[in-house]
Each structure stands twice: as C-alpha cells, then as structure tokens.
Symmetry: C2
Subunit: 405 residues, 2 copies
C-alpha cells in the first residue's frame, strides 16, 4: 500500500522533480527542464515561476545562456538554484578530529573550521560541546545571517539509527546512543540528521559519477575498520533499524580472528587496519585490537610488503581474500555490481587485488574477473560532499512539499 495520492501531492512531486533537475543541471533553461523531467512547457513555466517567487530559483543576470548560442530564435534563459536561499551546516566527527562547514544552497562551501582533540577522552557532553562549538565557529566566520541556517547534517564514524537521530555505536568513543541530531537541533534551532560516513561517501560518488555509480555499486572503506555504503537500483541500502550494511562484520572465518566488535571471524578481523597490522607484525589473530588509538600507518606496511616482507604480503593477501569472499556472499544475495574502494587501505590495493579476484573467481557465472574496482585514497572530500548533499536533498524535498497549503 503506497497510500492515497491527492491532487496537490502531484504538484509536490513535480516541484521536487524540477528542483532536482536544476540542482543537478547547474544552469538549465525551462525547456531543458521540460526535456529532463518529461513535464510540459506549461507546467514547467508554472512551477519555476512559483519557485522563483519563493526565492529558491533565480535567473542569474550575467549569464545569458547555458549552451553556446549561435542558433537563431529566442535565446534560452538559464535558471539556477539561488545560493542565498538557505545555508546548511555540515559537521564531521572523525577519529581525533571534528570539522564543520557552512555550505550555501547551491552547494558551495562558505566557511569552515576544525578542531584537533582526543576523541576517546571526551565525555558525552564533551562530544556534544565540541560538535556544537565547531559548527558555531564556522557559522560565525561565515559572516552571514544565522537565520539563514536551515538544516544540519552530521557525519560520524560508526553506526547510526536508521532515522538519523542517534550515533548508536562508534569505534572512536566508548559512549553509546548519543542523540547527536537532537543536540544540534537544540543548539541551532533547525532540523538535523546524523549519518554513517560510509553512506555519505557512497552518496557523493553516486552524484559525482552517475555513469559508473548512478544505480548500483558498493563503496568499501578500508581505513579505520571496514565500512560499506551500498546503492542498489539508485537507492541507498540501510538496515531495518540501523544504518546497516556492515560489510566488515559479515563472517569470513567462523570462530576465527578476534574482531574489534568482540565477535570472531568478521571480515574486519582480517581486512581492518588493525587486523592487517596484527598479521603483518606476526601477532596472533586473537590479539585484542588496540581500542581507540591511531589508525595504523598503512604506508609502513605498504613499504614492508613492497620490499618483499612475506608476513606483510600474506597479511594483505588475507585481507583481500576476506574482502573477496564477502563480496561473493553479497553477490549471492543481490548479484554483482561495481566496487569503489576508499581510504588509506587502497595504497596496498596492488597487492590485494589478485586475492580479491581469485576469491571472486567462478562466482556469478564467470563475472569474477570483470567486476569493476576503482580506488579513492582520500575519503575526506567524499564525506564532506556527501554530507552537504544529504542536507541539500532533504531540504529540496521540504521545499517541494511546502507548496501552497
């Protein structure tokens, strides 16, 4: 049961369509919008005129035209999102670092701010205070009216609830069930949501490279633990209650190596940063993972392995086997899709790839070797982009819904 459809909801849906066409299109004419959305020129005209009147779209005066106009006829008049229509706050909570930014409605960063700290030492209130203070500082330094702030998106390393209200569990703090969204809402008086960083990276790739990542793919982060963001048929996949898609905690070797989560044999217990380090330095795989300390120096292990150290090589290969085996299980469920590998771990991808491919061999009718895998070593730009994107998309939906009555 999808629920009743009423007449005015038609308008809401189509307003959203127009808004999203302009957001992804940059500078587009009304005719372009009609072609992209399938709406008639009459309807596009009506909707854009509303959105302009409400201040969400503008006709940039200086830009005459989108395309190189050498044809005759009345020239297209380009529309774009109004950068000043709203501000959003972006906060990123990482290991030993909090950063924040103010982004305008067209997605451009206005100001930013960051704090280095020891995340494991923070009290619950300490976490709250640093998140709030950092965004406050970014807001202050933006020099813009605070009343323009419309929404806040927070990225965290860890598991959130599916509604985006709580940070339920995180490897970088011992606190649980932190009401991050409420903290931000109370401090700034606007709606806020909190998301898993891997989901945000996936959203960024999904928007940034629609040809490759527009419909179905997984982004697997190899740095602090093993995380995943999963898109299937154009939609992000989450758990029923949590942010879910914890690829790192699928089982690779039942009863095997000790994982940071306390269970045995998880993929992360073989492919996580601490697991590779543990294996590379010959420590037994039941060695408890170092809690809340620095991510390992992948560079050191990479150097060791590339200089021929057999334990380092074996550690990396075992990580590849774990990842490849996990992908086989995932592909058994939903068929194969391209993979984006993200994070510091990608600097040993050359040594890891053969093991991944070998594990995939024979899975899903010979598709093994043809699975696309691409690497992105620096996750930070993706997280920031995905975080802003999330807030903007939700804002667009709210604006679309806020039609007359």
């Amino acid at each position: 049961m999808t629920g009743v459809i009423r007449s005015n909801e038609v308008r809401r849906g189509n307003r959203g369509l127009v808004l999203s066409a302009v957001r992804t299109g940059g500078l587009v004419s009304r005719t372009d919008i009609g072609r992209k959305t399938g709406l008639s020129a009459a309807t596009v005209s009506a909707i854009t005129s509303d959105l302009i009147a409400d201040g969400f779209l503008i006709q940039p005066a200086d830009v005459g035209q989108a395309s190189t106009s050498s044809r005759r006829g009345r020239p297209k008049v380009a529309l774009s999102v109004n950068p000043m229509a709203a501000l959003i706050g972006v906060v990123i909570f990482q290991f030993n670092r909090v950063s924040a930014a103010i982004v305008n409605y067209s997605g451009a960063k206005i100001s930013e701010c960051s704090r280095d700290l020891t995340s494991a030492d923070l009290s619950r209130e300490g976490v709250r205070d640093v998140l709030v203070e950092c965004l406050q500082a970014a807001l202050n330094s933006s020099g813009l009216k605070k009343s323009l702030l419309m929404r806040i998106a927070v990225s965290v390393q860890g598991v959130t609830d599916v509604a985006g209200k709580y940070l339920l569990w995180s490897p970088i703090t011992d606190h649980r069930d932190l009401p991050v969204a409420d903290w931000m809402r109370q401090a700034f008086g606007v709606a806020a949501s909190v998301s898993n960083d891997c989901d945000l990276m996936a959203r960024a790739l999904n928007r940034r490279e629609p040809d490759r990542y527009g419909t179905s793919f997984a982004s697997i982060m190899l740095s602090y633990g093993v995380g995943m963001g999963l898109f299937l048929r154009g939609d992000i996949i989450n758990g029923l209650n949590t942010s879910g898609t914890e690829f790192g905690h699928m089982v690779y070797q039942p009863g095997g190596a000790l994982c940071r989560c306390g269970r045995l044999g998880c993929i992360e217990a073989y492919a996580g940063d601490y697991a590779i380090q543990r294996a590379a330095f010959g420590r037994p795989n039941y060695t408890p993972p170092p809690a809340l300390t620095d991510p390992i120096d992948f560079k050191k292990i990479s150097d060791l392995a590339h200089s021929g150290d057999p334990r380092a090589i074996h550690a990396i290969e075992e990580a590849g086997r774990a990842i490849g085996t996990g992908l086989v299980s995932l592909f058994a469920l939903v068929d194969a899709f391209p993979i984006a590998l993200i994070g510091q771990g990608t600097i040993v991808f050359d040594l890891m790839e053969p093991a991944i491919r070998k594990a995939l061999q024979g899975a899903v009718a010979g598709e093994g070797p043809s699975i696309e895998i691409h690497c992105f070593t620096d996750e930070n730009p993706l997280v920031a982009e995905g975080c802003a994107l999330t807030a903007l998309v939700v804002l667009d939906e709210e604006i679309a819904d806020a039609a007359v009555n």
Copy 2:
C-alpha cells in the same frame, strides 16, 4: 527521479488501492474501503462504481452485510472481487513433478492437474511441452471459457531472471535459460511470468500472516538445496539481474565443502539435503553431490539422529551452524528479522536450533536468542498460494492502470 506524475495516474494509483483493499478485505463496504485507504467517501464511491461497471467488483446479492449489523442506520453494502472477472493459470515445476491449476479472480482454485515424470530426462522442448500440456489439461477440466484466462504464473525450483521471463538455472534440469514465460504466452496467448519458488513461499506468508511476516522476514527453504525468499520493509528483495537472495550460496567456510554449484564452502554445502546426508553417512565433504536425483529422505536422518547416532547429530548441528552463521552475515547487512524455515529439513529443527542460536549469539546487540524462528514443513501449499497471488496482484495492477485512457 521518480518520474512525472499526471492527473490520470492519480486515479490509477487510487483504483489500485481500492482493488487491493477489497482483495485483502474479502467483503468490505465502501465506508470500510475509505477507512482502509484514506480516500474520501466521494472518491471511493466514484472508483467503486467504475470498477463495478467494468465487472471487476460485485455486490454479492445474498450477503447483506459484512459486520454483525445490529446498529441502526443505512446498512453497509458489502463489495467483493468478482470471481468471474478473470481466470489465471498456475504452473509449478518441481523435481519429477509438474502441477497446474486454474484459479479464479477471487483466488479460489477451480481445477487442477499434475504429471509425474523424470525431470532430468526432459529435453528443452520436453519441459515446454509438459508445462503447456499440464496447464491445458487443467484449463480443459475447468469447464470454463478459455477466453477468460488472463495471465499465467509459473513457479520453478531454480534461478530466474529478475524480469520473470527465463528459468536461468535449475538443480532439476541441465537445461539453461529456458524461456518459460514466452512458452506459456505463445501457447495460451496471455502474459506469463516465471518466479523462484522460494520467493513465492515468502509472498504467501507475507499475505497469510501480515502481523508476523507483513514487513520484514526471510523464509529459508531446507529441502532440495537451500533457498531463501526475503522481504524487507514490505517489499520482496531480488537480485539486480536474477531472482537473487541465494542464501545457500553465501560462503560459510572459504575453501570448504563442495557445493552443487561447483564452488567450495557455500552454506548449502553444509546445510543442503545432500550435504547433511553426505556428512551423516560419513562421506567426505568433497564428495560430488548426486546430480538430479531424489531429494534425500530426511526422515531417515532424523531417526538416526534422534536415536543418538553421533555422525547424524553432528551433520545436523553443522547445518545449523552454517545457517546461523549466514544469518549473522545477513543481519550485519540489514539488521535482524524473523525467520520462517520451510520444507522437509524442518523435521530435524529441534536438533538444529541450538547450533543456529549459538551462532547468532552476540550478533546485533543481544538479539541472538530472541530471533523468531517458525517452521513450515510442507512447502507445497505455500508455493501454490504464492504463485496464484503473484498473478492476481499483477492483474490488479493492470486493471488499475486500464482506467479510461
């Protein structure tokens, strides 16, 4: 991008809502429909009057009222689906057996027919011919006009394409890529689809027990191999290209026991019928699974195990560990949900359950022991029900879409 919404599509959606409210409700008044769907009385009146005029709904004359009417006021007039509005054909292709039935638009079985045969011996055309002939016989014995046949749904043991056109792979025949839907369409001149039997069982449970299985659950079939039907948030999950959710081919022990699919270590290679038999009788786990033969006699293994045979007990426990471990991986992806175990394998569930629960222990924040697991030993009624249901639901959608222009 969800796509444009036009005015007449609003009507289509709401017609579908009304139709589905009547189908699930049995005998419902217009007021009831309004309450169930959220539509206004005026709209319900308009839509039902259309649907009655088109012959899809009727007001059964003999039934005055749905509820026990002892209140005053104008009595409700009950509506129901018109059983004579359409016929659908149901065909079930199983190991060494084909069965077919004719079901009317209200879901009642009109006639049926079955054929025992040796499925492994059939040629491609032989498969086609027996499926067509069996349904033809059921149709003939129904005694109803053949022109009433509107749609055919076929259930198969095996992997189908996601569009429901082909049987791509099956354990019960060596043929591949059988165009089952086209065969039926060409033979009977109506639209047809082919579905994985485990998906159909899940659909049947989803409809039959909405309180327990209405939103999220998995049905795992333990008989001929290991199959799964998965519902999340009310929608069935399929692969990107195939019917997918091949739980049995997630990896349990990398490099482990030989699976019927040719790979090593699949869950099915430990929990499938042939795997349990192999282990119970002390044959090595690299013994090739007997191809295309009878499903094993679970009763014999059950008797052995219940009489204390250590190898039989161990075989069943290992199957439980494999299933439990697979669930841990699945729950890592999408969080925990209730499980329905289906098929002959459930007769050893008492010996299997402790191993399943132990594997789940500690997974997903102490939810291990509280996962609901219920057993259904006979899968056949579920498959038949799900198969008819699938055709009826699609038919309802077509009828809803066939609004005026």
